[in-house]
């Protein structure tokens, strides 16, 4: 049995519509906030993990900014799932004794810079002449096929966005808190059929950071520790044109690996955080992670995943309503940790003990799952 690893600190910074800071500033600020929760200092940090579309070598940039020369460094980029994958990588590095205190961070200032998703994405020549919108057309192609194969409805997609706003209304830091209805979503302008404007995530600034260490060291710290019980990662394609099955994703493999290591299953999860850049992602994520039979994600959403429901999903409001500075993985983790610590106020899930976090990256390409315990 590998020694345990825990998340001992989390921090966020500049999750907003306008910032005067740069992306490296924000990664560093979030890191200092996360460290401040732990009582640890920069001198304790010997593992650096980072991702950001703003930097070619994000962990190297972050370490330079902080003034750290680490023993372990990792800039793995599998899109929005990266930070969730970093949790697995950091846990293994700590278990192997390669480092003792790991920082993971992400930041982007895409809202202030361009108002659009900032991405270093490479274009596949076999998609280039045809003009799919990046990334929404890829998700639209999957949504269309999912609706055809399983009868998922336009209203079920809309309900994902409606539920996200219900959670956001309970989150004082969420950037879109006004309620919306299914009718609002279905009446919003089409962008790439069948997806409409209100099926899409926000475009904001922001950054986040996590601090991980061994269970043993965590016990000597003052703050609460959230244990990492299991992690998994996978990818099935890079570009949507190369996706093999347009209705099922490599979340199946990533989730299975995490459940197996944790010795737990979907029924054991009290809180679920799934990357929701577009409404279809929550539905497919719920299916592929085993929370319902394949094809019934839409029905599960209809049954209720909002505040007060028996099955709380995306409790911060998610990328659809909380914030979305690109690669949302770190914010899924921050929310899960805060839920497991019982710090979430009006949106707190009572008695939350186990949380599942799933990051999607690229266009249903990169996947990483983490199972956490309070």
């Amino acid at each position: 049995m590998a020694p345990g690893v825990a998340i001992v600190g989390v921090g966020e910074a500049e999750c907003n519509w306008h910032t005067e800071l740069g992306a490296a500033d924000i990664m560093a600020l979030a890191t200092h906030r996360a460290l401040a929760e732990t009582g640890l200092g920069l001198a304790d940090v010997d593992g650096i993990f980072a991702v950001s579309p703003y930097f070619w070598m994000p962990s190297v940039t972050l370490a330079e900014h902080l003034g750290i020369q680490p023993r372990v460094t990792d800039s793995t980029n599998i899109g929005g799932a990266s930070v969730v994958a970093h949790v697995g990588h950091a846990a293994r590095a700590i278990q192997a004794g390669a480092c003792e205190v790991a920082v993971i961070a992400y930041a982007s200032t895409q809202r202030s810079d361009t108002g659009r998703l900032v991405t270093g994405s490479d274009v596949l020549p076999y998609e280039r002449p045809y003009g799919p919108l990046f990334p929404i057309s890829s998700y639209a192609l999957v949504a269309q096929r999912h609706m055809y194969e399983y009868g998922t409805t336009r209203e079920q997609l809309a309900q994902v966005a409606v539920t996200a706003r219900q959670w956001a209304a309970l989150n004082p830091n969420a950037l879109r808190r006004e309620p919306i209805t299914v009718e609002d979503v279905v009446a919003s302008p089409l962008v790439s059929d069948p997806l409409r404007r209100l099926d899409c995530c926000l475009v904001t600034n922001g950054g986040g950071a996590l601090v991980l260490t061994s269970d043993e060291r965590a016990r000597r710290l003052s703050g609460p520790a959230v244990r990492v019980l299991g992690t998994g990662e996978s990818h099935s394609h890079r570009h949507i044109a190369a996706m093999r099955d347009f209705a099922t994703t490599a979340a199946v493999a990533s989730g299975r690996a995490a459940y197996e290591i944790a010795g737990l299953g979907p029924r054991d999860m009290d809180v679920v955080e799934i990357y929701d850049a577009f409404t279809i992602m929550t539905i497919i994520g719920l299916e592929d992670l085993g929370f319902c039979p394949k094809g019934e994600g839409g029905k599960l959403i209809e049954q209720g995943t909002g505040p007060g429901s028996a099955f709380p999903v995306n409790t911060s409001g998610g990328g659809l309503a909380y914030c979305h500075p690109g690669m949302f993985g770190v914010f899924l983790l921050v929310e899960a940790v805060r839920q497991l610590r019982g710090e979430c106020g009006a949106r707190q899930v009572t008695g939350a003990r186990h949380a599942l976090v799933h990051g999607f990256g690229g266009v249903f390409s990169g996947h990483a799952t983490a199972i956490l315990a309070g």
Binding site: R116, L124, P125, Y126, E127, R128, P129, Y130, G131, P132, L133, S137, A140, L141, V142, Q144, R145, Y148, P189, L190, V191, S192, D193, P194, L195, I240, A241, A242, F246
Partner: protein, 141 residues
């Protein structure tokens, strides 16, 4: 020509060169692995099914059906912005693999999953013939 007139050109170097040249005589050609028999897309030097480098190019019927599609309603690129709404589809070919292309010569509202389509080509230059698909005439699907 302004950017609004010119369809963005793919990078035609490498393993996919015969794909972009294929339309010269109006025939859609795809790579086939002679080791495992798989016909695959997009073109690569090695078969993604079994890893073999024994790849040949075969002529296909160029016929298939729409596997999934989206109607694009806006674009930051002048060429595409001037053509909204347009259809981006994955077409499942009768010969096996699925390819990405636009469905043309058809109102976007008529496109549905399962729609029978056949290949046509748009010449961008002597090296680049972009495969597109249009609905098959009724009764010939």
């Amino acid at each position: 020509m302004s950017p609004a007139d010119e369809r963005p050109k793919p990078d035609t170097r490498g393993a996919g060169r015969p794909y972009w040249l294929s339309g010269r005589d109006g025939v859609l050609r795809l790579p086939r692995c002679t080791a495992c028999g798989g016909i695959f897309w997009y073109p690569r030097l090695h078969c993604p099914g079994c890893g073999s480098a024994a790849v040949e190019w075969i002529a296909t019927s160029g016929k298939g059906s729409v596997y999934t599609f989206t109607v694009v309603r806006q674009s930051p690129e002048p060429y595409f912005a001037a053509r909204v709404p347009y259809v981006v589809a994955m077409v499942e070919l009768g010969d096996g693999p699925r390819v990405m292309a636009n469905v043309v010569a058809c109102e976007p509202e008529r496109v549905r999953i399962g729609l029978p389509v056949g290949v046509v080509f748009e010449r961008l230059d002597d090296e680049t013939y972009v495969p597109l698909f249009r609905p098959e005439p009724e009764g010939r699907a």
